[in-house]
Structure formats: structure tokens, C-alpha cells
């Protein structure tokens, strides 16, 4: 018997190149380029794996619907033909507002086959975030369900002139919608993917900044090279594995690793329609014989409350690798994971803009609990010395790499395949993300003597709640539409389970009383507008602190909330 010793991290860093990683993919036949959907679906059917389960959708009652690679090939062909029949062209945006259901996967991969750009929306968004993202993307097509359409989309249509078609799963609820089910039934299951340049846009994921509207990060088909390689190296994913990524496809993790990467490896991906529930999750891990599980700190902290005994009461012997992303995983959880699951939890770090895992604890590598790990082979990461504004200091277009132990801005040398290629329609904001050949992440970190990276915090005011990046500006803008609110400041309040909770401080217009009734009204207003982005707590504050340029000082609000010294307030003015 031949024993192959897997290469060590150091060996991989020396030998790995993205060019070589590209060769693990097949490319479109006859040198017609590189298309994510071909790598994820068609090539496996061509290799005789059509009978293998590509997708197992588990509904809330535990009922499983399996889709083989061959079925997925036909369904995605049908979807691509539906788009073609509607006149959707290459580069057009197709958005989805769906739960974790088969149609989400078919729409994603069918859109990519057709050369259009797939852009998923998180189904827990309220109407405001949905409207904003549909408008910025200029999507021509939205795929949703009758329930979500009625609840969140119908009232927005008048504001969305570029949205031409709303396809719904099942029966169309009104004359503005078409039945996806009916269109699919009429469409041919034969479709040839057109030549696709690796640099053709493929995915559009929205993310939040400190100021301004959400940014649409554009990724290209070549990103699949990074999806594929990182899933193997950082998630230990192997062909034929059963893989469960608990993230919703509405967030970048749920697309890069919840749809694309497991399929490019010929794995079977699990999609669970239900919300977090400890017992249901363990039952699913056991019943589906999950080998690789990719989840988030918030979920792990909830499971930790549930106790190690509950985990050990289930047969999780098929589980080989556990990884976590979303925010830094606290050391206690890593330690607890080893007790509960008998294997370590591998933290990793990346962002919407990076498209794939960039820093990670690898299988077989010593884990330092609390550290995000070391850079992916093929990725150069560094901590840059900060300037006065807290971000990387740039002098004459030059940055300075910080030494071990120094907190600075985490940066990546540009040029990896899944690097975003732009913010849709916002060249200026895109360019501001780079300096001196580095992508500046906006995250603060330090690196230790052995090259392990440690997350410190955000360099800006963006909130990280339950692994989701939430822009305070978007929340403030929505609250200010309430007639009682003249101004709002929104911060992330530290929370033991979610990392941070969205908390708003609002200043009332004269004539409004800061009482419980109004507080409840504002909470309800926030939930209606924003859905899952809504503040969980609202305080009244008639004296929000401002900078000399008139912006709300969120940092100071946060310092007050935490009872910390407020620091130098010389740049502040009293509110008018």
C-alpha cells in the first residue's frame, strides 16, 4: 500500500502557483475559455459522474430532495434557456431573493452558463436593502418566491425601472410576475455555454462601507480557480465528500463555498432550509454523514451554550474537518470544539472583496486558538503601519509593512484570481481600496513571530453581527425616514453570541417624546424597512457627538456605550 504524505504548509507555500491551480480545472471544451458553471456541473457529467448527488436540499421537516449532477446540468441548461428567451444578455445582472432551496442553486449556475452576472440577495433583508441593491445592480431579472414577492418586492416595482422580469417559483401572484416553474417546463434542457473569457464578470456581491450606499463587488469567472484551490487547502475538501456550508447564499460565503467550490470538487453539497436550531443541526450532520462542515462563530457559540454532551450524543464520526468564518473565533470556542467534536475548529479569514479564503488554519497545521491562521499558498498577506486616520499609512504612494506584534491594517498583495475587479459603477471607491500594489482590507490585525495572523478589529465603523457586515450608514438612513427622527448614529454593541449587535442612537425632532411607545414604534419601523439589518436596540440621544465636519462620531458613541474613556475630543463640536 502506498502512503502519500500530504505536503506541509511550508512546502505548499514554496510550490503552489495559481497557474498550476488553474490546471486542476478543465476549462470550456476546445479552448473556449473558463466558465464557473462548466467547472461546477458539466465537466463532472462529462467525466461520468452524472449519477452522483450534487445537491441535497433538506427542508425544515428533514425531508431530503436530491439533485444529481446530471439533473443539475439539465436544470441549469433550462434556466439558461429561460434567460435567453427573455432576451437577457451577457453581463446583465440576474438577482435572486430565495430561501435555501433548489431553485437558488439552479438560478446561480444557469445564470453563469448564460454569461449573465449572478447576484443573490439575503432573503431576510427588508424592502429597503432590497430596493437599494436592485437599483444599484440595475438587475433586469429577479427570481423569488410568491411569499417573498408579496412581502418585500411588489411595492418596490414602480421604483425599479430596469427590473423587467420577476420570476417566481410556482404560481405567479399577479400580472407583474412570471412563473419560473412554467417557463422551465417549456425550456429545452440543451444549452451550449458560449465562449467565456476568464475576466468576464460572473458574480456581484453587495457589501457595506462606513459611509454611502452598499457597494457591489464584482467577481469574474476566473475566481473559480481560487474557490477550488482554497476549498481543497483550507477546508480539506475532497471529491465525493459531503459538504455543508451553513451560510446563506445571500452572503459571499454561501456562494463561494455554499454553491461553487463544493461542486467544482464533485462533492455533494447540503442545503438546509431551516434557521439555526442546535438539535436539527446535529441531526443533519449525523443523518447526512457530513464530512466537511463550514460554519460561523455565532452558530458555534450558540452550540457551545447547548453543551458538548449534545454534540457527543450524536454520531458525528464522518465529520473530518470543521472550519469557521465570519468574525474572529474566540479561543474558548476552539478549545470547546475539540472537546465537543473531538477535532479542532479551523478559523479562517476573508471578505466579500477577496472572493475566497485568504488566511486560514490548515488541516495538519498547529492551530493557535484565536488566530485566523496563515496566508493561503499563493497569497501574500501583511500588516501595514497605520497613519492618523487609523488606516494604512500611504506616503508618496508607498506603504510600510509592520513588524511582528504591531497592530496595523491587514493587506493582501494584489493579483489573486478571486480578487474583486470593481465596485459596480464606483471606480473611485474601488481605487481607494488599493495602495502600492496592496489591497487594503479595512481590518486591523497583527502578525506573530511565526507568521500567524490575529484579528484585532475593524479600522472603520462597519458592524459585524452574526458574521454579517452591516453598514451603519444604511441603518441610519432608514431610521431618519421616520418622522420623529432628525438624526441617528448606529454602532455595533459587543455581544457574547453575535459578536456585535446593531444599536442605534436617535435624536428626536421637537415635539416628540422619548418614551417607550416611540422606542417600540422605531424598533418596528426599523424591522419593516431593514429586516435582518434592523437595530436590536434603540436609545434616545438629543446630543449626538459630531466631528467638525458635522458627521456623527460613531466611535465616541461606542466608547460611551462601553464606558471607555472618550479620548481626544478636540475635533468635536456640539450638535447644533
Amino acid at each position: 500500500m502506498l502512503h502519500l504524505i500530504p505536503p506541509t504548509y511550508e512546502q505548499l507555500r514554496r510550490t503552489f502557483t495559481w497557474d498550476r491551480a488553474r490546471r486542476d480545472l478543465s476549462g470550456l471544451p476546445d479552448g473556449r475559455g473558463l466558465n464557473i458553471a462548466h467547472e461546477a456541473v458539466d465537466r463532472h457529467v462529462g467525466a461520468g459522474l452524472g449519477h452522483r448527488a450534487a445537491l441535497r436540499c433538506v427542508d425544515e421537516d428533514g425531508v431530503v430532495t436530491t439533485t444529481t449532477y446530471e439533473q443539475l446540468r439539465r436544470e441549469t441548461n433550462r434556466f439558461a434557456n429561460v434567460l435567453a428567451d427573455l432576451g437577457v444578455e451577457r453581463g446583465d445582472r440576474v438577482m435572486t431573493l430565495l430561501g435555501r432551496q433548489q431553485e437558488q442553486y439552479v438560478a446561480a449556475l444557469g445564470t453563469l452558463k448564460h454569461g449573465a452576472v449572478f447576484s443573490p440577495l439575503f432573503s431576510s433583508f427588508g424592502p429597503e436593502p432590497i430596493r437599494e441593491r436592485l437599483r444599484i445592480s440595475g438587475a433586469r431579472v429577479l427570481v423569488t418566491t410568491p411569499f417573498l414577492y408579496r412581502r418585500k418586492v411588489a411595492a418596490l416595482l414602480a421604483d425599479l425601472p430596469s427590473l423587467e422580469y420577476v420570476l417566481v417559483v410556482g404560481e405567479p401572484p399577479d400580472e407583474h410576475t412570471l412563473s419560473l416553474t412554467a417557463e422551465m417546463a417549456l425550456a429545452s434542457d440543451d444549452y451550449e455555454i458560449a465562449p467565456t473569457d476568464p475576466e468576464d464578470p460572473a458574480l456581484l456581491h453587495f457589501t457595506s462601507g462606513t459611509t454611502g450606499r452598499p457597494k457591489g463587488a464584482v467577481h469574474v469567472h476566473e475566481a473559480v480557480v481560487a474557490h477550488h484551490a482554497t476549498a481543497e487547502l483550507a477546508l480539506d475538501l475532497r471529491p465525493g465528500d459531503v459538504f455543508w456550508c451553513t451560510a446563506d447564499p445571500g452572503w459571499v460565503t454561501g456562494t463561494s463555498y455554499g454553491i461553487i467550490a463544493p461542486l467544482t470538487h464533485g462533492a455533494t453539497l447540503i442545503s438546509y432550509a431551516g434557521e439555526f436550531d442546535a438539535r436539527a443541526w446535529y441531526q443533519l450532520l449525523e443523518a447526512q454523514h457530513v464530512n466537511v462542515w463550514y460554519t460561523a462563530p455565532t452558530a458555534l457559540r450558540m452550540l457551545m451554550k447547548y453543551g458538548a454532551g449534545a454534540a457527543r450524543a450524536h454520531d458525528l464520526s464522518t465529520l473530518r474537518h470543521i472550519a469557521s468564518v465570519g468574525e474572529a473565533l474566540n479561543p474558548e470556542v476552539v478549545t470547546w470544539g475539540t472537546q465537543a467534536y473531538g477535532r479542532p475548529i479551523h478559523d479562517n479569514w476573508w471578505q466579500t472583496e477577496t472572493g475566497a479564503i485568504m488566511v486560514s488554519n490548515y488541516a495538519g497545521m498547529e492551530i493557535r486558538p484565536g488566530s485566523m491562521g496563515r496566508p493561503m499558498p499563493g497569497v501574500e498577506a501583511a500588516v501595514l503601519v497605520r497613519g492618523e486616520n487609523g488606516r494604512a499609512r500611504v506616503v508618496d504612494d508607498r506603504v510600510t509593512v509592520a513588524g511582528p506584534g504591531v497592530t496595523g491594517e491587514l493587506a493582501l498583495r494584489t493579483g489573486w484570481p478571486s480578487m474583486f475587479r470593481g465596485y459596480l459603477g464606483e471606480e473611485e471607491r474601488y481605487r481607494a481600496c488599493f495602495a502600492d500594489g496592496w489591497y487594503l482590507s479595512g481590518d486591523l490585525a497583527r502578525v506573530d513571530e511565526d507568521g500567524y495572523f490575529w484579528f484585532v478589529g475593524r479600522a472603520d465603523d462597519v458592524i459585524k453581527s452574526a458574521g454579517h457586515l452591516i453598514g451603519p450608514f444604511e441603518v441610519e438612513t432608514a431610521l431618519m425616514e421616520h418622522p420623529a427622527v432628525v438624526e441617528a448614529g448606529v454602532i455595533g454593541k459587543p455581544d457574547a453570541v453575535a459578536g456585535e449587535l446593531v444599536k442605534a442612537f436617535v435624536t428626536l425632532r421637537p415635539g416628540f417624546e422619548p418614551d417607550d411607545a416611540l422606542r417600540r414604534d422605531l424598533l418596528a419601523f426599523g424591522r419593516h424597512r431593514l429586516g435582518g439589518l434592523a437595530p436590536k436596540e434603540i436609545d434616545f440621544d438629543q446630543h449626538l457627538p459630531h466631528t467638525s465636519s458635522g458627521k456623527v462620531m460613531r466611535r465616541l458613541l461606542k466608547a460611551r456605550e462601553l464606558g471607555l474613556p472618550e479620548g481626544d475630543i478636540s475635533t468635536l463640536e456640539n450638535a447644533p
Partner: protein, 84 residues
Amino acid sequence: MPDPTTLTDDQAREAVTAALLRIVPDADLDEVGDDGALRAELELDSLDFLGFVEQLSASTGARIDEDDYPALRTMRSCIAFLTR
């Protein structure tokens, strides 16, 4: 704080309603009905649900373990759980 062992159906309903309204202040519980799935109908995310459980536990004195969460699916099942 009422003794959980002596909670009537009406008291339990009142406690559940109050706890839900803390999270979703304008929740229309009549529309959800006694058998509607609370998490789905009121769009409670997992943090909202935790807040609901904590609130309910504090107001009724009932000990609510993670294992009991499935019993909190609907208004009817919540009442049954609290008056068991």
C-alpha cells in the same frame, strides 16, 4: 414573578405575547394565529429568538433549556410548554 407551576393558559399567553412584542413591537399575533410558526411568521432571526426565550424565562420564572426550543414553535405549543 408568578410560579411557573401555577400559570394559567391566559397568563402563559400574556407572557408569550409580551415577550414577542419586546422583539417585534407591532407583531400581529391574531394574524399569526395559535398554530402559526412564530419564527417564520414574525421573521425572528436566531438572535431575536434568543431574546424572546430570555424574556419569556425572566417573566415566567420558567427554566427554558435549548432542548425546549422546539416546544416554542407556535403560540399553542408555547402555552402548553409553560403550563405543563
